[in-house]
Amino acid sequence: MAALRGLYRTGLGALCRRKGYQGFGLSKEMVLNCYKKMTLLNTMDRILYESQRQGRISFYMTNYGEEGTHVGSAAALEPNDIIFGQYREAGVLMYRGFPLDLFMAQCYANADDLGKGRQMPVHYGSKDLNFVTISSPLATQIPQAAGAAYAVKRENSNRVVICFFGEGAASEGDAHAGFNFSATLECPIIFFCRNNGYAISTPTNEQYRGDGIAARGPGYGMMSIRVDGNDVFAVYNATKEARRRAIAENQPFLIEAMTYRIGHHSTSDDSSAYRSVDEVNYWDKQDHPISRLRHYMTARGWWGEEEEKTWRKQSRKHVMEAFERAEKRHKPRLDLLFSDVYQEMTPNIEKQKEAMWNHLKHYKEQYPLDLYDK
């Protein structure tokens, strides 16, 4: 892998209309699945972003422009590989099969939320799908992922750990710690950096002066590659190979996927304050992972106008139905405020819970009790 002198890409997009573009032998079924997951995510993002604007959910983060990094990497993993994420990897979870209802439940913090309504929207997690619950502090997952990989190595279970983070989080001390530990302790782990150009308003030239994140890898004794993050096949290939070698050789691999954050950082951000509409439009129109994959599918004769129209209607319908269900659902019952602090309930917390219920007995009109499960 000719790492830092170039950008690994397969030319997915306009180039693949040329004769001879191989597409790496991925089946039609797999490619269509990738496309559908990317577009379903996009549709869900639009609806949930809008729902925050309308005051239905408190907060949201979209994944616009980075769908290729999610789906390309997720497709290269096995179901029992452990995933540590940052917060902009919903497509990885979606690819694994996390249902729309559960995405919505977490965002609405309703009684169906696997996280029991405790965290802000987009802090997903799924034990069944081996996706460790997201936390807000940045880069904390990086040394944790190294530890998990060490444990996995000792199990001899043929699994890899993948750890996602942005180029901004890579500036945190925890990133340095995680990279160094994974190399010295020989952990089977893939570090996947989504370099999307911005950390909220901070562009990359204010985040680092070196040659991006991939160039740091060799400093730790870690194999690294920089890929075109909007080329799903490039992401897929790099991840697949990194996975194979990480398990076979018990060493970490660093993939820096170059992409672009088309959307705002979150619903609390208006990126027109720090970047031009032209810049955003370029990436949206000229270098979008979804349209680049669609070019390929069209060129192969696997997809056309009709399929696109039908799928758009169908995916939107699914999202809207899940949305309406989630909106109607009650919030979790109040006792869940107090449980899971420890594995067992402790006397002090039990006392405080009783105090709260006692308080509610006398002041219940002051609280929105009707919204919550009994």
């Binding site: 939320d113 696997l114 944790q144 530890g147 444990a151 530990f181 602090v341």
Partner: protein
Amino acid sequence: MAAAARLVLRTASGAKVLRAGLGWLGAPIRVPHAAAHFTFHPDPVPTRHGPTQKMNLFQSITSALDNTLSSDPTAVIFGEDVAFGGVFRCTVGLRDKYGKDRVFNTPLCEQGIVGFGIGVAVAGATAIAEIQFADYIFPAFDQIVNEAAKYRYRSGNMFDCGNLTIRAPWGCVGHGSLYHSQSPEAFFAHCPGIKVVIPRSPVQAKGLLLSCIADKNPCIFFEPKILYRAAVEQVPTEPYLIPLSQAEVLQEGSDVTLVAWGTQVHVMKEVAAMAQEKLGVSCEVIDLQTILPWDTETVCKSVVKTGRLLISHEAPVTGGFAAEISSTVQEECFLNLEAPIARVCGYDTPFPHIFEPFYIPDKWKCFDAVKRMINY
């Protein structure tokens, strides 16, 4: 001074020249570093846990770790310098016995040590992380407070790092100064989701450490470093558990309740003896053992009986854990109190070097506080 130094450097035969060179300075002034501020009182030999062996505190830790590595194939021990046996010899022999994949050094990075440990625990293995001195735990504060403590709650109980135990040497040692003497338990007491445990002796240390390791919540285990060699007891060689969050009444009394943990428990025992002898005052001595979650019931029950409470710790008094105990006791036992609750603690300064004998809450300061409470 310079002339004397030159004389020393120029000649080969060291000692004689040194004496000749520095003799004009007079006899050296001795600051009593050597005299400890406490006497270690071993507990009676335990009879309920099988055969015992003479062990000091660091050996009792090694014994607990040995038992753990033996019975739990997933258990791993890691941190700075643990491979050769550790700077306090707590892990001597374990790497040879159990293998380099189970007892290993990490790079010098506390946030990495704890973060890595969380990950090991999340993946289902038993992680025992060593921080070389409690004074250096702060780079890991984010991982402990924001991650380890909240892992179970924030994931709706889908994920947890209950398999994580963090160990660190703790407390004054006679010459440790700012960065080898700290008692940071108060910082962590404010963090729901973790447990904080401090033993007073080898027998306690092994049982409490094994309980921390077995406990399904992330635990911080502070080891009083001044006791590593000084505290020697007969300790059971087989594993045994001492329950967490249960304070121990070491001696019963009727007039004053004395609460402490770690090294300070031994100071309190002496204070109780002094109070009995010099004042005819009967003290009830309680070793809190677990700082979080702490045993409010035992302490309050005692204060209801005695009406007077003295809490003592080396850490600075403002915001120290004595403040939490004091606040809770006055809520629960207000009408039983005969005197204001006394806190005899370190001053609100960093832990000093040469001034340590004046800084620490020694038996005279505690005795004086008892006297004032009795005469209130």
